[in-house]
């Protein structure tokens, strides 16, 4: 399938001194959900920021490699330009504008639209159709929404922009399991109904691999294993280290029995 986003061997350095990404590559095909998994500090968020151009705000720099969106190099393209070209980054921690109302948050997202898109009232209706709860609260300040509602608002803003690719940074962060499921169901629905490709960054491997068609797992700034979601789910190492299922018999284990580093991860060899 045709690739929408291609990341080729990028290296990212913060503050001209701390190297976070060491030759990371991945690709997101048109209309697919791709999961990027990894533990804290692996560089997942950095990967997304180096695509959306928000890296420079944090004094980070792509020192090598190339990021192509729709086969065009994104280097030097200002962030707002990329958004208008159809690449929407939903940042970690939701980042709703707390002292704006829900509706004003959506209005802010209309800056992502460029001329030739459908009318605005349609896209508000689209958002409220996916998230009826936001409609009830549209006059409220976003800061007073619950965590789940804020995540819905963050997704709603992305919907307003009608992008070709949504990069979702840890939508499950700080949410109750039931809400996580609800959010992921909607993400899958958006992908199916709007044809929007989604690059999903997560720590919750089980839920993400359930909705994604392809997955990458990264550690220390590079991809260590990748494959179709079902293959990854079946992989012994992934099961042990990311899905919390035991090695031999495949039954769930209690934390009491886990011996850490009983076996080296095979990909470290």
């Amino acid at each position: 399938m045709e690739a929408l986003l291609e990341i080729d061997n990028i290296e990212v350095v913060y503050n001209k001194s701390v190297q976070v990404l060491r030759g990371l590559s991945l690709r997101v095909p048109k209309g697919a959900i791709v999961a990027l998994l990894g533990s804290n500090g692996a560089g997942k968020s950095t990967t997304l920021k180096s695509v959306s151009g928000l890296l420079t705000l944090e004094d980070g720099e792509v020192t090598a490699g190339e990021v192509r969106f729709r086969s065009k190099d994104v280097k030097g393209v200002p962030p707002e330009r990329l958004v208008r070209d159809g690449l929407f980054h939903v940042m970690e921690g939701r980042r709703v504008f707390e002292d704006l109302t829900v509706e004003e948050n959506l209005i802010a997202a209309t800056y992502a639209l460029s001329g030739s898109k459908p009318s605005l009232s349609d896209s508000y209706e689209l958002v409220y159709n996916y998230f009826p709860r936001l409609k009830e609260r549209r006059k409220q300040l976003a800061g007073y929404l619950s965590g789940g509602e804020q995540q819905m608002l963050a997704l709603g803003r992305a919907l307003i922009a009608q992008p070709d690719l949504i990069m979702l940074d840890e939508p499950s962060l700080g949410l109750a399991p039931l809400l996580v499921e609800e959010i992921f169901t909607i993400v899958a629905r958006i992908n199916r109904e709007q044809g929007t490709a989604i690059l999903l960054v997560e720590q919750n491997a089980a839920v993400s691999l359930a909705v994604a068609s392809y997955g990458y797992i990264m550690e220390n700034g590079k991809i260590v294993i990748d494959g179709p979601a079902d293959k990854l789910t079946a992989n012994e190492d992934v099961q042990e280290f990311y899905l919390g299922v035991g090695g031999k018999e495949g039954e769930a284990r209690s934390y009491r029995d886990i011996k850490h580093y009983k076996r080296r991860k095979r990909w470290l060899s």
């Binding site: 151009g53 928000l54 958004v83 504008f97 004003e104 209005i107 802010a108 992502a112």
Partner: protein, 292 residues
């Protein structure tokens, strides 16, 4: 106590305070959007007032044409300062940026002295001269009409920030810069617009204040009073700028009338010190929304 006198002084003070509020608004818009404390705001006012002098006095245009021209000139000055001097300073420490604005202020003073000399000047009068009475109370016409024009712009601004799409972009940028970028908002353009709008408010206030009290290159000192206003009101609060502007204007005038002109500044700075002890972020400064 003579209540009529007190009433008239208060009224004049409140009207003056309206103009302070307008300048403070200019200051707050810039601070809110860009987190730059703009010490040059008083000098931008002064520059616009001199432009008015040049257009209306020197070139003998009608004051009603000269006024918008001078205000536009002041706003352009603000936009140019942002684009050429402040933007390259993005990411530098706030103190450096503050020092740069102070530098800009003295350059503007020097420039004005160079062109118009350091002598005090009088602006051609363009506001109606009939005395204004509110009930029993007399109000100097210049102050009254200045207040009216200033308030009109204030109201336009408030409506714009509350209800327009551009206002949403500005408030979004103020609330979370990185998130604003990720919405496709052109943050650099918002910064520039903030400087233009801020300077516009200050320029209009500059011409109106200079029309009542005369103009000299030291006119920018008024920026100090406005600094008191914005700190009392809370650096990033538009409402704070309005309330504190009116209050400080009233206080200054009343203190000046009853205690003598030399007590104007000490009175306001005393209030500043007290407010800072009680509420370090000002009367209406940002308190983060906490969800419980």
């Amino acid at each position: 106590m003579d209540w009529l006198f007190f009433g008239e002084i208060s009224l004049a003070g409140l009207a003056m305070g309206g103009l302070y509020a307008l300048i403070a608004l200019g200051f707050v818009i810039i601070y809110k959007a860009t987190r730059v404390i703009n010490f040059a705001i008083g000098e931008i006012m002064m520059f616009a007032a001199y432009l008015f002098l040049a257009f209306a006095g020197g070139m003998e245009m009608s004051p009603w044409i000269a006024l918008p021209l001078a205000v536009i000139g002041g706003s352009i000055l603000g936009g140019v300062i942002e684009k050429t001097i402040i933007r390259p300073m993005l990411g530098e420490s706030p103190i450096s940026v503050v020092m740069v604005t102070i530098g800009i202020a003295s350059i503007l003073v020097g420039l004005v002295e160079f062109v118009w000399t350091a002598d005090p000047q009088l602006l051609p009068n363009f506001l109606p001269r009939e005395p204004v009475f509110i009930g029993e109370l007399y109000l100097a016409p210049k102050i009254a009409y200045g207040f009216l024009i200033g308030s009109a712009l204030l109201i336009v601004y408030l409506l714009y920030f509350r209800f327009s799409r551009g206002g949403v972009a500005l408030r979004a940028t103020a609330s979370d810069q990185a998130a604003a970028y990720s919405m496709g908002i052109n943050v650099r353009r918002v910064f520039n617009m903030a400087w233009v709008f801020g300077s516009l408010a200050a320029s209009l206030a500059g011409v109106l204040v200079a029309a009542t009290g005369g103009l000299s290159p030291q006119f920018g000192i008024i920026g100090l009073s406005v600094l008191v206003v914005v700190i009392v009101g809370g650096l990033d609060s538009i409402l704070g700028a309005l309330v504190a502007g009116v209050f400080i204007g009233w206080l200054e005038t009343v203190a000046g009338a009853y205690l003598g002109g030399e007590y104007r500044m000490p009175a306001t700075f005393l209030v500043l010190a007290i407010i800072l002890v009680i509420r370090p972020y000002g009367l209406f400064g940002t308190h983060e929304i906490e969800r419980v």
